[in-house]
């Protein structure tokens, strides 16, 4: 009997800690995964994650300032981050999310850009950030790995 009570208590406790971990402002579909994948693991071998559904977490370090259609999450490795993209209007991330911890579930996708597309992409992002764009930073075609978000929880 004691074992059953202990097992039940453990189950309730583990469920409650999982729920607690995802408390905050909710966006899009509810999160279904409970084990976060390290952003550094995706950045280390992105091809092995392309097309797979993952849950990632980190500090929100940038948010699209016009449409709230993307955000950048800080990686667990220094000086690295990953972009999280949503379909315009389906999920809108608020600017106030910057500096808060987010849990995002989605599909890892590969974005192959020609040099012209990379230049357009750079210009677009610079305009959204309100900064000037240096075209010499784009030296050729680019491949970007990002997360196509399905749902997110941003801690308050």
């Amino acid at each position: 009997m004691k074992k059953i009570i202990f097992a039940l208590a453990l189950l309730i406790f583990s469920n409650s800690t999982t729920l607690l971990a995802f408390e905050g402002d909710k966006f899009g579909k509810p999160l279904t995964l409970t084990e976060p994948t390290k952003i550094s693991a995706i950045e280390k071998s992105p091809l092995s994650f392309v097309g797979k559904k993952v849950l990632i977490s980190g500090t929100v370090v940038e948010v699209c300032s016009t449409r709230g259609c993307w955000l950048d999450l800080a990686s667990d490795t220094a000086f690295e981050k990953i972009q999280v993209k949503v379909t315009d209007g389906v999920i809108v991330f608020p600017l106030s999310a910057r500096g808060r911890t987010a849990y995002v579930e989605g599909i890892v996708e590969e974005l192959k850009l020609s040099k012209k597309e990379a230049l357009d992409y750079g210009r677009h992002k610079a305009r959204e950030k309100g900064i000037s764009f240096d075209p010499t930073t784009v030296i050729g075609p680019q491949t970007i790995y990002r997360l196509r978000a399905l749902g997110a929880v941003i801690e308050k």
Binding site: V61, S65, T66, R67, F79, G99, R100, T101, G130
Partner: protein
């Protein structure tokens, strides 16, 4: 004719009912139409500041961050920090993001404030609440359709749908078609 009387009653009362939401959608519609050149929900103020001296990267801890904030008279609630590259430190406080160039001591502050009224209007217009609001907005769209149809039959005669109304209604249908022909 009895049906016209009911048509006009429905048109009048739907007009009253839809007034509030139509004004919200009209104002927010103009605001979000120009989303490429401004943020319709938030006001973003960018300020360049300069620290008295560069920041030594090996000393970077919470104490240093709070010293930077104090030097810039930033009293907002500290949330977090991030190093996008070895020369840069981002500090997140409530309503402000500070990007510090550690080598030069140059700081870019981005102060974000919600646009009163407009933010709430956009919130509804862009259906951010989802849930029950989606159904309410669908109902409003139905009402707008009914308002348009009943509007055609409010007047009889030369100023009605068989006279001037026909020309104006045809123009109203042709204009979007013209833009489709031009841009689609």
């Amino acid at each position: 004719m009895k049906w016209r009387k009911w048509n006009n009653i429905i048109h009048r009362d739907l007009g009253y009912l839809c007034f509030g939401l139509t004004i919200i959608y009209a104002i927010s519609g103009v605001a979000v139409n120009h989303i490429d050149i401004w943020n319709p929900s938030y006001s973003i103020e960018r300020i360049q500041s300069q620290l008295a001296k560069p920041v030594a990267t090996e000393q970077l801890g919470r104490d240093t961050i709070f010293e930077i904030l104090a030097e810039l008279d930033e009293t907002g609630l500290y949330k977090n920090s991030f190093r996008p590259d070895p020369q840069t430190l981002q500090i997140f406080v409530e309503g402000n993001t500070l990007t510090v160039n550690l080598t030069t001591g140059n700081v870019l502050q981005e102060k974000v404030t919600s646009r009163p009224v407009l933010h709430q209007m956009n919130f509804l217009h862009l259906n951010h609440p989802k849930k029950l609001w989606s159904w309410f907005a669908d109902l409003y769209a139905l009402f707008l359709g009914a308002l348009a149809v009943t509007g055609l039959f409010v007047l009889r005669g030369k100023k009605g749908i068989t006279g001037r109304g026909a020309w104006l209604t045809t123009t109203g249908i042709l204009l979007p078609l013209l833009f489709l022909w031009l841009y689609f």
